[in-house]
Amino acid sequence: MLTREEIKEIEEEIKQYPSPAVACIDALKIIQHHRGWVSDESVKDIAEFLDISNEDVDGIATFYSRIYRKPVGRNVILLCDNVTCMIMGYQSLFEYISRKLGINFGGTTPDGRFTLLPISCLGDCDNAPVLMINTDHYNRLTIEKIDELLESYK
């Protein structure tokens, strides 16, 4: 079931479009914002609310890399693995974070605190290497900065 707040937010998005179905991606983002990810049940709820098929909603949800169809941790680390960050030392950052948290790309720590994912170029290549945690952007990273950075996300 969509909550009253979710419905209100989705309806707000529908206003700028010629038909409700157009708001599908927005609806997925709204659900994810509130629940952390998009479950099968949420896919059905969105489909019903926007009057489109479950398959269409799922096709859209699985297409976009920033829609999660599996549960993720409370904090999602998005580490850029593209070419400039590779040149500037992404590999050692990855190894350090992966070892520290005991997870690989795609993994979530057992306490549900962090999920680690790769991300394509974040458009800050003159300050590489870069990563995002949730919606916060960090650049010019070194291994020394990682401990303190992760500490601020509970």
Binding site: Y64, N82, T84, I119, D124, D126
Partner: protein, 424 residues
């Protein structure tokens, strides 16, 4: 040297609000266009300026606009879309403009929408650009309050609503027609062309899609004219360009410079040359989807036609440098992996070719590659090339691959014959 696009951007401090922007001459372009020019005159001026699209393809902006039907039928909705889905690896120029001067973009969009008589406009923004998003939303609010957006702008009778759409990821959204599908709430699959968006674009209506940097130029061209714009470049093409350099250079960054400066000037004078202990081996001059250029090309002028003449593309103008401490096979592999991951899966050469290419490159890099892979890689590069796919994704992926195979042939061979990567 004039820097019209970036002169009001102060790195480290916040962007001008509307009032500050007006104090330095902002919105004079909107005033001039909406009060003293017809839509056709604006389009003709932009055509005369020869402003080439700054998103990477370099298509003439005024020509794109002139394809929009202008039959005066008010009921025919038209759209202007700003492509702010910057995601080309190695590219960080639109972020600079979006964060640094959102009012300049909005002003450019108002004039552009007026030129094609579109009453709805969208900014399709990369989801990750959070600072840009909040800055744009604030700037749009200010523009509504000041009467530059909304109904009957400056008493001209022209109406415009402007929305920000934050994306949900995927590089393919930067492809013009995939972007339109995404904006319609669908999977971002490129469309067959024709019909081109100018005839049937967003929601089946005439639509213009322009890049952030392109639209940021419009107010300056309206205020200062086509000849002024042409005079800014060293080559006569028109305008300055945001250039960038990343990789092992002393001073990576982005700078507004005249079109036509040499690759050497960009690399040595602006980026400060290579980091000590590193030698230049080559560079992708305009993002990941452009062909490598090497030392012999350092004196090439950075402009659309001059870079094309030596077998690459100016692309986004942001260069990724390959140094001698970085393995060229690993470099090419990283780029191809990106393209394989970001393929939308719609056409065969891209969906099947890219993962195949990626696997062969991994195996060469790890020392298990075979000599026959070199021919297979070249075959795939050709098969993914122009004419075999709906969009430019696979042809773009083919560019660093084919040129990497050509310029770093000996390195590929050495990986295979020595059964290991010499850089590991």
């Amino acid at each position: 040297m004039e820097r019209p696009l970036t002169k009001h951007i102060k790195p480290g401090s916040s962007a001008y609000n509307l009032e500050e922007y007006k104090q330095v001459g902002g919105y004079a372009g909107v005033n001039k266009a909406l009060k003293n020019m017809t839509p056709g005159e604006v389009t003709n001026l932009v055509k005369a300026s020869n402003l080439l699209g700054r998103g990477g393809a370099g298509f003439p902006t005024g020509v794109k606009w002139s394809l929009i039907p202008m039959d005066g039928d008010k009921s025919r909705l038209k759209y202007l879309v700003c492509n702010a889905d910057e995601m080309e690896p190695g590219t960080f120029k639109d972020r600079y403009l979006l964060e640094g001067n959102p009012q300049q973009l909005i002003e450019g969009m108002i004039i552009s929408a007026y030129a094609i008589q579109a009453e709805k406009a969208y900014i399709f923004l990369r989801w990750a650009y959070k600072k840009a998003e909040s800055g744009l939303r604030k700037a749009i609010d200010e523009a509504y309050k000041a009467g530059y957006l909304g109904k009957n702008i400056l008493g001209s009778g022209f109406n415009l609503d402007l929305y920000v759409h934050s994306s949900a990821g995927r590089y393919i959204c930067g492809e013009e027609t995939a972007l339109l599908n995404s904006l319609e709430g669908k999977r971002a699959i490129p469309r067959t062309k024709p019909p081109f968006p100018a005839i049937s674009g967003l929601f089946g209506r005439p639509t213009v899609v322009n890049n952030v940097e392109t639209l940021s130029w419009i107010s300056h061209i309206v205020e200062n004219g086509a000849d002024w714009f042409k005079g800014l470049s060293l080559t006569g093409t028109g305008g300055t360009k945001l250039f960038g350099v990343s990789g092992k250079v002393k001073n990576p960054g982005t700078w507004e410079l005249p079109l036509g400066i040499t690759m050497r000037e960009l690399l040595e004078e602006h980026a400060g040359g290579m980091t000590s202990g590193h030698k230049f081996r080559g560079a992708l001059p305009g993002g990941a989807s452009t062909d490598f250029l090497i030392e012999e090309h350092l004196d090439v002028k950075m402009d659309f036609s001059t870079v094309a003449a030596v077998g690459s593309r100016l692309g986004t103008g942001t260069m990724i440098v390959l140094d001698d401490k970085t393995c060229p096979v690993a470099f090419v592999h990283n780029v191809e992996k990106f393209f394989a991951l970001e393929s939308c899966g719609w056409c065969t050469p891209c969906r099947e070719g890219l993962p195949w290419v990626e696997k062969m490159l991994v195996s060469i890099e790890e020392g298990t590659g075979k000599m026959e892979y070199l021919d297979l890689l070249a075959f795939n590069a050709k098969y993914m090339g122009p004419g075999n796919t709906f969009c430019a994704h696979a042809p773009g992926a083919a560019e660093p691959l084919q040129s990497g195979l050509k310029y770093f042939h000996d390195d590929f061979v050495k990986h295979i014959s020595d059964k290991k990567c010499p850089w590991r």
